[in-house]
Subunit: 234 residues, 4 copies
């Protein structure tokens, strides 16, 4: 039987991307000058900042990125609520999922401090961490054993998978444009700089931060404009 792996992190890799900061300028300038060669424009940065601050979002849609992501199912459940995106994910109907389970490490806040409808987590005790860890390892082991038992008995993948918990890792390719990505970052990263603060679950924030780091490298002026406008998607 495959050895069960426990992970406390997610994977984000850039697969492909299109456009650059200047593409935003080029697209925006078609309004006022028509077809244009973005090499001719000085002051790209000023225009990008203006577009972002004034929430003229459409020129940002011509920048597109494709990422590969490995994360637990409960993260993908939240991710796929973002509808301006293209997804292909590993299927538990067609494939035996790999025995890889996400369990938070010791640095993850464990205890709810506020009301349940306003998550505001604080660190747990060592004992709490141990209870959580023991429970989640135990359930992973039990479910995996029962998953495999069913498969060994000839039960179809799509039926046997019923027992798999939402912290099992899945994999996907996702393609989003810069406008949709910035909306994703605004909702899925908890930042003091945000005009509209959001309290995402830690694990989707781990994905979002890795995505945003790559985004910032590829499109530095666009990302900087996003920061300047208080992390509000244009």
């Amino acid at each position: 039987m495959a050895k069960i792996e426990f992970l406390d992190d997610v994977t984000v890799e850039l697969v492909d991307f299109m456009g650059n900061d200047r593409r935003v300028v080029q697209a925006a300038q078609v309004s006022v000058v028509g077809k244009n060669d973005p090499e001719n424009f000085a002051r790209d940065e000023g225009l990008i900042n203006y577009l972002s601050g004034a929430r003229h979002g459409s020129p940002f849609e011509h920048i597109v990125m494709t990422y590969y992501i490995e994360a637990p199912i409960f993260v993908f459940r939240e991710f796929m609520r973002h509808r301006i995106a293209s997804y292909n994910e590993m299927s538990a109907r067609y494939k035996e999922l790999p025995p890889r389970f996400y369990i938070p490490n010791e640095r993850r806040n464990l205890v709810q401090a506020g009301k349940s409808s306003h998550p505001d987590l604080v660190p747990g005790t060592d004992e709490q961490y141990n209870i959580m860890r023991w429970s989640q390892e135990h359930v992973a082991n039990v479910t995996w054993e029962n998953y495999r038992d069913q498969l060994d008995a000839g039960i179809a993948l799509e039926v046997a998978r019923n027992v798999l918990p939402v912290n099992i890792m899945s994999q996907m390719y996702v393609t989003m444009n810069a406008r949709s990505l910035m909306n994703f970052f605004s909702l899925r990263v908890d930042s003091d700089e945000a005009v509209y603060p959001s309290k995402p679950q830690k694990e989707i924030e781990m994905v979002a931060l890795k995505m945003e780091k790559i985004f910032a490298e590829k499109y530095p002026l666009v990302h900087n404009a996003f920061l300047k406008t208080g992390r509000v998607s244009p």
Copy 2:
């Protein structure tokens, strides 16, 4: 501790709906006569059939339905890949999920007959059913115990839920227009009448069939046109 419930069915209820068969006619006729009173049109049925067969889909978008649905998480995972829809779902970050788990009944096909990439399931033996049922009940019991143990130890909902399996029941409201609904029905119901056959998982088909039954009652001419055109969404 709450008693664990095992269910072999899903729930679909109509919450609200907008428009009727004639709204499709009214919307389509604006192309050729402008604003119109649909009471004046004879031969609604012919026009609706024509629009459906010729794949003029936009007039069907003014019909909108809101459903309440209870189904296992693995069904909602597939459902939410449909992006032309509005969703609000129970959150395991904000609420302790009810201990309700889906387990297939004896009539569900259990064994994969074809290649794994082309699901084609056939009945299992009694022994196979018993193995599946025992495993899934066992995992539900173990996970629920460990979920509750973590909560009792003060672990936050959003962390403790890691152990919950994808066959735990969730609830949502979903709003879709008729065009998107017919696309959903075309992909999520296995029908001999379909021009483009689809092999959905049984459980999302159970949801889709209940939704389609209500749809057919409210919009009989539109639904009939959908059938006539081989279950191809316009």
Copy 3:
């Protein structure tokens, strides 16, 4: 020949609508309590305001409205850039357009005060109004005559219509949900209350204001929350 009409206004009528303020509460509460009967909820207003201020937009998507609109083509050109909407419009391929042309009245600002890329119009002189009016009536008359001449010579509608100006009136049915509508109102109404000010063209603002008035009557709590949050769509 049909008499040419000149109009200085647009038409907006409510065709149908779905949901009410409480539907937003019902949809939002599914997160924390599951299926619910909105009659049981007190303090709807507080929750709606919270959702709006925190930009939790999805519960607003279950409210849907269908409008009939008559407005000039240049307004529909701007309107149809809003993609979360369903449209059916009169077609100049299928119908001889009625000879109805929009010309601004004396109260419309005529002169650009700022830079061309930041429209900020101020009143024109009487002479300027007369020049504008004369030109636009003249062009309407000339184009209509040439449109009809081509049709009388047997030229197809879709070719003859090339000459029609963008101020000829068209008609459409449009269906949008409350979230998309509030985004439309935020961009297409110039308001001192707006956190993100917008400078829409006067004529689409005329449409938006009429739509928003009906919206406010049907969904007073939702509309009030929109105002309280500075006209930012949730």
Copy 4:
């Protein structure tokens, strides 16, 4: 005064594109094998054909193209009904439009043969062509003169443009994914090979054919699959 130009053609240029035929394979294979290096896959063509024929559309969404297009406003009016796309267009609020007008050449069918609701055009006589051409040149000249007169009198761009006809040329950048593009091609090209025939207006077909030619060059296996499946978008 700028010299008026009459054009009988449209312009389509590729600005950027992302992905290749193998990206479709890579995205599809994540379902069954997870993250993968598409270099490892033989038989790409077979899989792409299968996905297309079975209408598994999502893997095609990771291919994205950006085009520059110059075409008359009446074409952009039809184009922008396609909502799974990103647009930036020249604005007559911000810029004096160039005096470039589309007028069909002698090869364009001019006369409606069927019912007005089912366009089916046949060639016109020389006399009909001359009437059409004279009318359209005359209107272009009159409207341009009146547009310029208003601008010379200090009338704002957004008001003066009311007189411009729908055959004046505009310019845009548009970004679409391969799935949306194939839907566009299926609706906007009249082909005997189409399972669902469409009767687009000639001028948007001119745009679509130029776009499809570039698409076929960049993604030959995907395009071939589209042809094999009767020009039905997956």
